[in-house]
Amino acid sequence: MSAVEVSYQEATETARIEAVPFSHLSVETGHLVLAQFADGDQALIEQLEQAGPWLEASVKRARKRFGRDARISTCFLVDDQTPWDQAQERPKPSEVFDLVASAGARVGFAVDYIACESGCATARDRPYAGPHDRSPLADIVAGAIVAEPEAGANGSRPPTGQSGWLSNGRRSPSVSVAMDAPQWEPPAEFGPYRHSVFVDVELWSTEHGSGPDAGRERQYSSSLLTAVWQLLRLGLVRNAGRAVATPYGFGPGEALPDLWSQLPSITRRTPDAAPFTAYLALSLLPARYRASEHAAEVVLDHLRFDEAVLVEAADRARGEAVPVRLPENPAGRISHLFFDDVHTLGPAHDTHDAHATRDV
């Protein structure tokens, strides 16, 4: 009797992980609320001007580390979710995109990708995306959060977390109004630290309204959406294995939609740009974003990642012309630079004096 080698497999047994292309470095050159575009390009130019020299330096450093052919892309995030004064008219995507392009040209670099924050809550892979081209990104990331257990948690009870909140420690017990003077107990960060830095992040709130869906619609916080944004830049989000929020490039004759909600999550503005997703993500931001970036890091520290997705990125990095070793913790691929808020008043020493002297 001879042994016959037989194998049988079903493709649906293990999820296929869709690969995404990688740049070496993705630089976020700014982040603005839609309202800031209503008054023209001043705020935008201020940010891009601040970012310019750091972008230049990071490009130089990336080429030194990863070789002359290092792939580097730039991006810009527009917050189209912050509540809007109804009296004012919302700038259209085409207007904002033109402003970003001209401001970029003025300060000397191109913004390759423009993303909108609503596209971080729900991924849209193309303009006018229908239900099949959308992925609930914020739901996916929120669902991947693993709450940190308190000492004594053995699985008997579901995680004790406050719904919609994530903290890095044990909260201070709530003090009830009692006759006795209540004894205050401090919160404590989990981990081996002698002193705590206790952070409690609001991930979402629920709308209180009337109707059948009242209280069920989640409004995701900028902390969670920032986490989604950084994960997208690192190429770590999948919807059941599928890549999501893939950048969309509009054709030459193709018009931009009028509504932000009809825009793809990420729009490619430079046709031959290096990939949006990258091994390293650098954010050049005004200091006011520090808190939400820190909160996003707390979220990242509590995420379970798909091992196959991490391995895919690590293997690709190792296979580069200049091999790169990625850290085990994806948060170690993110770096920040926060600007000061100081602007010169005197005649500027470069060509942008028209703007720099405006306040005089």
């Binding site: 649906t12 609930p136 693993v146 699985g155 059941a240 091992e307």
Partner: protein
């Protein structure tokens, strides 16, 4: 003796070169029951049912029987272990749990965790544990055999790791889904299977099954190589499924039908349910791989499970035929 706490910004806690050490123990618990739905669920409905968190992949196969498995959920734990005889230990890490639906009919909640000695005497930052999902590190050095016996011996309310509650929660979550119509196709009990494996590189495969003094509960003690873990887990889940099928057909359907016949009532519905819905799901997992075949063949030699199930099947057909020859007078 290292200090109990450390200052932030110091040297990061090292896991040492053994950062990926093999586990020494694995514990699990499987809860098996009927899905609360009148009809068998279609494959696409099952996929929607076991997508427990948004965007998570569902693993499914069509042959030999339709089986869908949810992605694993993680539950953080930090608790004392229930150690028998002597010794103490604290386990910190994550427990994995998933839902399995077989044939659109039978639901299983399966929770499991592997254990290994911690490299450090203190709790680490959370991302340290998230790096290895399904691993809990033991602080303290209790004897693994005592930890294993302690887990198998633990009674509710659990004093150590409570995998029963975690597997129950998976079942409850699925049963509450809006995909289901919450109808009862057959009144049948849920069963529990608790298992614990001692994993050593020099171990040969061994399995010992004890039917517990509690109803519908089995305890499995296993031994194997650390690489056998996926096989051992699947073996226990398959044992739980087949034990549930056997218990439901023989101890529920047949017993009730005999009682009904004696009282001149019609037991045909539940007999046909067993024949049409449950018996096709009997598919011992020998086809999976050589290791699991060894385990199942060993189980079969000792228990004649398949023969017992075959007899139960014959008995169901007998009772059905009797109904044709002499229909009941009372309905």
């Amino acid at each position: 003796m290292p200090p109990a706490t450390s200052e932030r910004g110091g040297a990061p806690p090292t896991t040492g070169p053994g950062g990926h050490r093999p586990p020494v123990l694995a514990f699990g618990e499987v809860r098996t029951c009927l899905l609360q739905n009148q009809a068998a669920l279609s494959p696409s409905a099952v996929t929607a049912l076991v997508q427990l968190s948004p965007g998570s992949p569902v693993s499914r196969v069509e042959r030999p029987v339709h089986r869908a498995v949810s992605a694993d959920l993680l539950t953080g734990v930090d608790c004392g272990l229930h150690v028998l005889r002597h010794g103490r230990g604290r386990a910190i890490g994550t427990v994995l749990s998933h839902a399995i639906v077989t044939g659109g009919r039978v639901l299983q909640g399966s929770a499991y965790v592997t254990l290994l000695p911690a490299a450090s005497r203190e709790r680490q930052a959370w991302r340290h544990y998230l790096r290895r999902p399904g691993v809990a590190e033991i602080i303290g050095s209790p004897d693994p055999d005592n930890v294993l016996d302690g887990f198998l011996d633990d009674q509710p309310p659990a004093r150590g790791l409570d995998l029963a509650s975690i597997s129950d929660r998976i079942v409850e979550d699925v049963q509450q889904s809006s995909v289901l119509d919450h109808g009862t196709a057959l009144r049948a009990s849920a069963t529990t299977t608790r298992w614990a494996a001692s994993l050593r590189p020099d171990s040969t495969l061994a399995v010992g099954i004890v039917k517990s003094h509690m109803t519908n509960a089995h305890v499995i003690r296993l031994r194997g190589h650390p690489d056998d873990l996926p096989t051992l887990l699947r073996f226990c889940e398959e044992f739980a499924l087949h034990e549930w099928l056997l218990a439901t057909v023989r101890d529920v359907v047949v017993v009730r039908a005999e009682h009904a016949v004696a009282q001149d009532r019609d037991p045909l519905d539940s007999l046909l349910f067993a024949l049409n819905q449950l018996m096709p799901l009997w598919m011992p997992p020998r086809y999976l791989n050589a290791r699991i075949k060894e385990l199942w063949d060993g189980l079969e030699r000792r228990t004649h499970y398949e023969l017992v199930f075959l007899r139960a099947t014959e008995r169901v057909r007998d009772l059905r035929d009797q109904m044709r020859i002499r229909p009941p007078r009372r309905i």
